[in-house]
Amino acid sequence: MLEARHLECTRGERRLFRDLSFKLGGGQLLRVAGANGSGKTSLLRIMCGLLAPSAGELRWRGRPIRAEREEYSRNLVFIGHLNALKDDLTALENLQVTAALGGMPADAERMLAALDRFGVAHCAELPTKILSQGQRRRVALARLALSPAVPLWILDEPFSALDVGAVSELERLLAAHIASGGMVVLTTHQEVQVVAHAVLRIDLDVHTAALLAA
């Protein structure tokens, strides 16, 4: 259970949002919407604990996330807009390193199965620098197929650079994760076809406009 209380984010001189509160429970998907520069990525980074909010706090299972970083990190998978792939390593090696750092077993068979779900198993032995943008995104997303047991997935523009096949595969994966009681937070500019018990939605533009009007 992730709970945000009165979050405020200031970057430089600009206040991106303030007084943002929400609760995210098991089996829910939170979609963060907003124009470019409205603070979507900053909000996601705050949720990961990479960025400190200028006010307010986030609680995971009732405890502030910055108090127990490692414990919280083990409960979350973050895929940012950078793919976190090393150009000179193969897709398989990249996935192994990320899995090992996340505390998961790094045996090659599981990795290949995960790559296969996103249709990039044939690139497993190729250095990622020769892969296309979409293929690299697929390799980065293959991490999700390894992490069904990790409750919280935080994804920044996961659909960018993906073709139709990969989009539907990712949607299936998100739906399965939510059905098994997981939580997903994502930002996207396209509509997500995920059947969740509750799709929560935060629109940072609307949120800011409402605060200004009040």
């Binding site: 990961c48 604990g49 990479l50 960025l51 400190a52 490692e70 414990e71 990190s73 083990r74 979350l76 973050f78 940012g80 950078l82 793919n83 976190a84 792939l85 090393k86 150009d87 000179d88 390593l89 090696e93 192994q96 390193v97 990320t98 090992a100 750092l101 996340g102 505390g103 790094a106 250095p127």
Partner: protein
């Protein structure tokens, strides 16, 4: 924890292996600088013997500093640093893995190369041995202190000059006692005191530097 450290170490060494040019650069720099001195200064043996410890140590120090820019910056650019911060393992351990990799790649080759280069300066056998030991103890300190500097200047424009400015004052004691140990052997007073002090620096840096680097990395990522 040890497993995570092992993976970081393995990854960094693998990356270096795939991009050998970068490593060779530091070593080539070291060899060239040290070899040019006898040519420039002249071949008088006593003069060369006197300046050998200083030249070798200064060159090692600069070679080590050259490679600092690549310690965290590539990870910062491709997003793997973000993932290391969210790894579920203490960041200190992962930083330690990176520092060990840095030393194996840019420190250890200098230690192995030093006796050969020392011969050019007509250093006697016992001085060569002390030179190696002093570099063996001293270069890990350079990597550890360098990691703090590299982490502090991460993402800053013109970070190369800034790293030098931050790190050099902290390198100076290592340089003085490292070069001093070889000089003391040559003078016949024994190098124990210098080497023990270097060991003390290493112990201190091992305890403090990984924590300082980890804290600096967290700040740099905000």
């Amino acid at each position: 924890m040890i497993r995570a450290l092992g993976w970081v170490l393995r990854r960094d060494l693998l990356l270096v292996f795939r991009r050998r040019g970068d490593v060779v650069n530091a070593l080539v720099f070291f060899v060239i600088v040290v070899s040019l001195f006898p040519l420039g200064v002249g071949a008088e043996a006593s003069q060369l013997r006197n300046m050998a410890p200083g030249v070798l140590w200064v060159a090692a120090l600069l070679a080590c500093m050259l490679s600092l820019a690549r310690l965290f910056a590539p990870d910062h650019q491709d997003g793997t640093l973000e993932q290391m911060l969210l790894a579920g393992e203490p960041l200190v351990i992962l930083v330690m893995g990176k520092v060990i990799a840095h030393w194996l790649v840019s420190g250890l080759p200098l230690v192995l190369m030093a006796p050969l280069l020392g011969l050019q300066f007509d250093l006697p056998g016992d001085a060569l041995a002390v030179l190696c030991v002093s570099l063996l103890i001293g270069t890990p300190v350079l990597s550890l202190i360098g990691a703090v500097g590299a982490a502090l200047t991460l993402g800053v424009r013109g970070s190369g000059a800034l790293v030098a400015l931050l790190v050099l004052p902290l390198y100076v004691p290592v340089l003085i006692f490292g070069a001093g140990s070889v000089g003391a052997t040559a003078a016949g007073t024994g190098a124990e005191a210098h080497l023990l002090l270097l060991g003390g620096f290493l112990a201190l840096a091992l305890v403090l530097a990984p924590w300082a680097s980890a804290a600096a990395l967290r700040i740099a990522m905000e």
